[in-house]
């Protein structure tokens, strides 16, 4: 197709699926990990290193072993991935997850000029040459936004993996696909944190520094703009000096690491002034730590808080959470990740289960918000990306058992 640039592979991609966790794809993942770790350029990129770490042999083995051995799964065929333009290595995770499920993969690489993208592609390309069966099932492409090209790929796909939020999902879904095509859509999500003030207060210097670093990684590392980055900080046991201790530690961490752009500083300041007016009656006060941290202390939550309360680049809403009941009104299907510190996460999970909340897919400790894995947005991605081959024996055989394979 004209206008499409094949960074890896070609138009003649082999679309015949492999078994889920086929040895050949596991071997590729392991080699990919080794090659990434050995690469001088990759070693300077924390997010690419986390990819390398995830792909390492032991981790893949652990994930494979954790699956029910009696399940016979096969990839669905060709998966077409629309990767986010602005999260550098997400395209590679999306690729590896789907490849492990057994699919051939056509991946549109992010268009923004992140240095991680060409570096990861360079390493992957070199590694693939030693894995011909996977290589012929892999194509990495780039092309300018063009509905015709996207439509042509959509028409061929057995799975569409659509990252990039509501607008992208809506756009891609409007393009025709095979009737049986499986769409895995990652819509815009909202996340928050629940921190315990007393636990922070009691934390020693090292623990506090670690907490601040973890919180930084959940937020500033992606300009607080990832779906799993917390927007609201709910405080349990808010009285006492824990809260201010926490922010002071975060400020210290961010001051050493975050490159605040002038435009972001102005945007945060503008947003704070605007919201002082728009959220009149709900804003108790605004505090800023230089321009690194903006904190809007709220006395109540507005309607549709999940769409209205959106900060980026270090702009947080704070609210004293006396009891979990409030979450019932707040949480909708938009809610993805809860990061927690100093409280028992099972309380949160049980609350979601008992109250039948439509949102909250992940409950992870502060520092793990960005840890992408095979379970994401409430999907078991391996299952979503693959087919289960159901086998039934005739009645009366094998002791009258109808089914060998669990559903």
């Amino acid at each position: 197709m004209s206008g499409v640039n094949y960074l890896i592979g070609s138009e003649d991609i082999c679309t015949r699926p492999l078994r889920t966790f086929d040895e050949r794809i596991c071997a590729l993942a392991a080699d990919f990990s080794t090659a990434l770790l050995a690469d001088g350029e990759i070693r300077t990129m924390p997010d690419a290193l986390s990819l390398a770490f995830w792909c390492r042999k032991a981790n893949i083995k652990r994930l494979r072993d954790a699956r029910p051995p009696e399940e016979r799964r096969l990839g669905r065929g060709l998966a077409f991935h629309i990767a986010p333009a602005n999260v550098p290595v997400n395209f590679a995770f999306s690729y590896i997850f789907s490849a492990l499920a057994g699919n051939a993969n056509l991946v549109r690489a992010p268009s923004r000029p992140f240095s991680q993208v060409p570096a990861v592609i360079r390493v992957l390309k070199a590694v693939l040459s030693g894995h011909p069966e996977i290589e012929k099932r892999t194509a990495l492409i780039s092309y300018p936004a063009d509905d015709e090209i996207t439509a042509a790929f959509c028409a061929r796909a057995d799975v569409r993996v659509i990252w990039g939020g509501d607008a992208t999902v809506e756009k891609i879904r409007s393009l025709k696909s095979k009737p049986g095509c499986q769409d895995i859509c990652f819509a815009d999500r909202f996340s928050f944190a629940i921190l315990d003030g007393r636990a922070v207060e009691e934390a020693g210097e090292t623990a506090l520094r670690t907490l601040a670093r973890n919180f930084y990684n959940d937020t500033y590392l992606m300009d607080q703009n990832a779906c799993s980055s917390p927007q609201i900080i709910f405080w349990r046991n808010a009285a006492g000096p824990g809260r201010e201790k926490f922010w002071a530690a975060v400020e210290k961490e961010a001051a050493g690491r975050y490159r605040l752009q002038a435009a972001s500083a102005v945007a945060k300041f503008d947003q704070s002034c605007r919201e002082a007016v728009e959220l009149a009656g709900l804003v108790k006060h605004i505090r800023r730590h230089g321009n690194l941290i903006y904190r809007l202390s709220l006395a109540g939550l507005p309607e549709e808080a999940e769409t209205r309360l959106r900060g980026s680049c270090g702009y947080f809403y704070e609210y004293d959470l006396e009891n979990f009941g409030l979450l019932k009104d707040l949480v909708s299907e938009k809610c993805q990740t809860v990061t927690y510190y100093g409280l028992d996460p099972e309380i949160i999970r049980d609350f979601v289960l008992d109250e039948g909340l439509t949102g909250i897919d992940r409950i992870v400790p502060v520092g793990s918000a960005m840890d992408i894995g095979l379970i994401w947005d409430g999907f078991d991605l391996i299952r979503s990306f693959s087919r289960l081959i159901d086998l039934t024996y005739p009645k009366g055989m094998d002791g009258g058992c109808e089914k060998k394979t669990p559903s």
Binding site: P84, N225, A262, A265, V277, H285
Partner: protein, 360 residues
């Protein structure tokens, strides 16, 4: 109550030194903050949310500032709607929201008086033959009547025999231009226009047509963004040279002002320095924490103006970068701060999960 222009009527627009100006601004800006705090509820919400106490603030640098973008997002006025006589809108880039600035009679009058005092200090008290290097369309066409049209109307008060160099389709009218210059041979001629439009539609077209004049004494005031010109690597020096090569002896004054603070403009002197008049001041702030920066340090420009009475625009944080170049010591003799503008800050590149498909 409130700042009265009459207090400054007898003062040269560049006649207050550092200490005198500070004294004036402590009083005048505090009064403005008080007044807006009382009369503009959104302003009060912001001041309160940040915990500022209008009673305690003294130094101009401590006055609560508003980001200019806020005037595109909120309706900010300190007078009842029925007292508004004019709503100014910023031109803004295509597709972007525009600022809305609400002027009452008093605010509007202050703007034109102060503009007159400032411009007169450069051109003298008499009206001069005026050549507008633009099209008259901007005045007629309501859709185009934004800050651009208002600027032309405002400047026309300094002119006689006001003549437009461009026709309705932005084409240079060489005959009209020649006739105007012939009519006023030997006189001081005033010219006005927008920086980038002059460059493209007047200077560029004159050059193409091989047209040039030898004015004995011309004065050009031009205003507007430099982005287009910077992209073509045109700086002030090259700009001024081009003007002189095509028009003869012309004093070129670039000036700077925003729709949010019309009237109290900043004018570049013959030494290329952008000056604050007694009606306005500039503070440069560090983007990281908004700390006040000293001379020669580059940061965000905050503009102070004594004029905004009907809307809370007396202390504004702009999205322009610049630096203070000096104070009270320009060889031109004008007192007050002078500064450099480095243009709009770069848009932020933000990471995140959204917006993948359409953007490149």
């Amino acid at each position: 109550m409130g700042f009265s222009l009459e207090d400054l009527a007898g003062t040269d627009p560049y006649g207050l030194d550092k200490n005198e100006k500070k004294k004036l601004y402590r009083r005048a800006l505090s009064e403005l903050t008080h007044s807006h705090y009382r009369r503009c509820p959104p302003y009060r919400l912001i001041v309160d949310a940040y915990g500022h106490d209008p009673e305690k603030i003294q130094d101009p640098e401590d006055q609560p500032m508003l980001p200019v973008r806020l005037f595109k997002e909120l309706e900010l006025l300190s007078v009842p709607h029925e007292e508004v006589v004019k709503v100014m809108t910023s031109s803004g880039s295509t597709g972007q929201a525009v600022s809305r600035i609400f002027l009452d009679r008093d605010n509007s009058r202050k703007q034109s008086r102060v503009l007159t005092r400032i411009i007169n200090s450069f051109i003298g008290p008499k009206r001069l033959p005026l050549l507008i290097l633009d099209t008259e369309m901007v005045k007629r066409d309501r859709a185009m009547f934004s800050a651009r049209g208002a600027g032309i109307v405002g400047f026309s008060t300094f002119g006689l025999d006001t003549t437009y160099a461009l026709d309705d389709h932005m084409n240079l009218k060489a005959d009209r231009l020649k006739a105007f210059i012939d009519r006023h041979a030997g006189e001081t001629v005033l010219m006005f226009g927008y920086t980038a439009i002059i460059w493209e539609h007047t200077l560029g077209e004159m050059e193409k047509a091989g047209l040039s004049f030898r004015l004995e004494d011309g004065i050009l005031f031009h205003i507007g963004g430099w982005k287009k010109l910077r992209d073509q690597a045109v700086d002030a020096l090259a700009y001024n040279e081009k003007v002189r090569s095509l028009f003869g002896r012309v004093r070129v004054h670039n000036y700077y002002g925003m729709a949010e603070q019309l009237g109290s403009v900043f004018v570049e002197c013959e030494h290329g320095h952008m000056h604050c008049s007694i009606y306005s001041d500039v503070v440069v702030r560090r983007p990281e924490d908004f700390a006040v920066l000293g001379s020669g340090e580059r940061g965000l420009l905050e503009l102070l103006s004594l004029l905004p009475g009907s809307y809370p625009g007396h202390v504004l944080l702009t999205e322009d970068e610049g630096e203070i170049a000096g104070e009270d010591d320009c060889p031109c003799g004008r007192l007050g701060k002078y500064f450099k503008i480095h243009g709009r800050i770069k848009g932020a590149e933000i990471r995140g999960c959204s917006d993948t498909y359409e953007r490149r």
